[in-house]
């Protein structure tokens, strides 16, 4: 960090699971690191927004209270962009939401010279055009995009991939378990240790939901789209022009007949009728002394992407994941047969917020 850092203004959208932790972490860090010289001028959530018309600093430690007391009805994103574009200093927008309509405006935001730091996957795993427009707009606007934490939260996944490529390595294949929810489900349903599991799939899903390991509607995890989005981002950074997160085979774990069932409750009620399907898959895996894991894989040389269930030997590093850990294996020319592996918690408010904060620090450093 440069000692005499120029002031940089920060605008934050979102104060939920990630955003709440982020505000706390940022307030602590700014308090401990006066040289950092970043200040908050805008804080917005879905139904409320607070900003300073003269871009003066909002007290970070009390930002949520100030928003509650003095906040107004939300203004449009267009108005927000106009306000930020007129700021007297460089501006970083922190998008701590997963909202598509904000992601759609990234090209316009970046083109206005506003940098973006975000865990929101939507702009990077949507259409290839949106991806291209965002990065082109950043170039023309002199702004920066930092989205390391869209994949693996605070794990150094995208930066490692980018460094390997920049240093001239050839990426052959990237493979792993990119969803903490899937790790929890399958390490419970098809464990490596102990006697063969007799757990019923529907019970494991219900339990995971009760523990908060799934989205309120578990189908949002089980349809595989979260993994497909992360795989799309990895593939694009590896140089593929992947058209979208639905342009390659994704094996959904939601029985087709339950896809259109209106409520999560009804889905969970009807799920036991399909337990035999998962039982059969598990039995087949056990016959070969394997376990089931939900794996994402991109073969960079052939351009093939796939997301789905796989049988893995028990000694496979991805077989041994527990809790909500992720694992990313990079097979490259220089690493040969034994991949570079990064493993750890890939979700959760606290580590994801830390990933956003690390991205903010990197961006501040590069803007200075």
């Amino acid at each position: 960090m440069t000692k005499q850092a120029k002031e940089i203004l920060v605008a934050i959208i979102g104060a939920g699971g990630v955003g709440g932790h982020f505000l706390t972490q940022l307030a602590t860090l700014v308090n401990q690191t006066p040289a950092l010289n970043v200040s908050l001028c805008y804080l917005g959530i879905i139904d409320r927004v607070y900003w300073t018309s003269d871009y003066s600093a909002i007290d970070l430690a009390n930002a949520l209270d100030i928003l509650a007391e003095k906040g107004q009805d939300p203004i449009s994103l267009e108005q927000t962009i106009d306000y930020l574009a007129k700021a007297p200093s460089k501006v970083i927008l922190i998008d701590n939401t997963s909202v598509q309509s904000i992601a759609d405006l990234y090209p316009r935001i970046l083109g206005s010279g506003i940098s973006i730091v975000t865990p929101n996957k939507k702009a990077f795993s949507g259409t290839y055009d949106l991806w291209k427009e965002a990065f082109e707009a950043a170039r023309s606007g002199g702004s920066l995009i930092e989205h390391e934490c869209t994949v693996g939260a605070a794990l150094p996944v995208l930066s490692t991939l980018r460094t390997l490529i920049a240093a001239g390595d050839d990426i052959h294949r990237i493979e792993g378990v990119f969803s903490g929810t899937m790790t929890y489900l399958f390490s419970t349903f098809s464990p490596v240790d102990g006697p063969a599991s007799t757990a019923r799939w529907s019970d494991v899903v219900k339990k995971a939901r009760e523990l908060g390991y799934t989205e309120p509607d578990p189908r949002d995890d089980l349809n595989g789209m979260d993994v497909a989005r992360k795989l799309t981002i990895l593939a694009r950074i590896a140089g593929l022009k992947t058209e979208s997160a639905t342009s390659f085979p994704v094996k959904s774990l939601v029985p087709q007949a339950l896809e259109t069932v209106p409520s999560a409750t009804e889905y969970l009620e009807k799920l036991p009728a399909y337990d035999h399907e998962m039982d059969e898959l598990r039995a087949t895996a056990e016959q070969h002394n394997n376990v089931l894991r939900f794996v994402g894989s991109v073969d960079v040389q052939s351009g093939a992407l796939s997301v789905g269930l796989r049988q893995l030997p028990k000694m496979h590093p991805a077989a041994q994941l527990v809790s909500s850990d992720n694992i990313f294996s990079f097979y490259t020319k220089r690493y040969g047969d034994r991949p570079l592996i990064i493993k750890g918690a890939g979700a959760g408010g606290e580590v994801t917020a830390m990933g956003v904060l690390a991205g903010l620090l990197k961006t501040v450093d590069r803007l200075n």
Copy 2:
């Protein structure tokens, strides 16, 4: 990489196992990336040196041939520093050696405004004073130090640790197997899979030496100092003022009576007489269904560092390493019980050279 990068001059010392690969990788990259705008003005090896008095570019693709044909007897390091300090552009010195006397001059080099990129551990794992002087000299000289590849070669170990700290996480403990040589020796002598090994320790060491997995004198690996140096670097980045790599307990695997035996050959001849000691350690581990691994560990909270043999359960990630892989586990406040893990080849000319190259790119980017 900025598009209109300023020219940056590169001086390279060393063209051995790492340095040779580095020259090849750099030549390819510069050829493919004209925007990079780095050029070589100085190449030195132990008994020969070539430099351009007007700092004009040496043809990278033929640098070793040019050195062989036109090189002269080496000049002193002081003369080299004077030459580089007078350069018309910013200069990065690549120290691809493991020479202590070069490391000792880092403060002077950095204080002269010359940046350093290096896999040479000596300056960072020597006395704490040398470490402090080097970083202070860089601050006063406006130069940069990049030594990511001193630990784990091209694995993102130090950058990950620095990012966690910068983003406000508390590092509790760092632990792992930091030596590819030790991984090879113990995954052979005390394997996870198959029947209990009956391999003799002295045979495993001999075989490892024949395969080039150890230094010419295996005692240089087996005394534990390579691991102790890496642990010292990790501990210092984690905030400890570790006095040196000999200021904490390091369990040498060289029997005391063989420490002073003059030649590697004699050491290997006499080693079988000590096989029973390693047999007993392995038998004890097997009784508990464990394996032996050579582990480095720093408890950041208590400040305790240790390097030595440990019994590990077979499912422990460090137990399952093969070939010459390294593993680094970061236990932190935000990651809780399940550490952030980085694993992969942590030695070898090609990946270490890639680590140096990645460090060069990062430094060029920051100097621009």
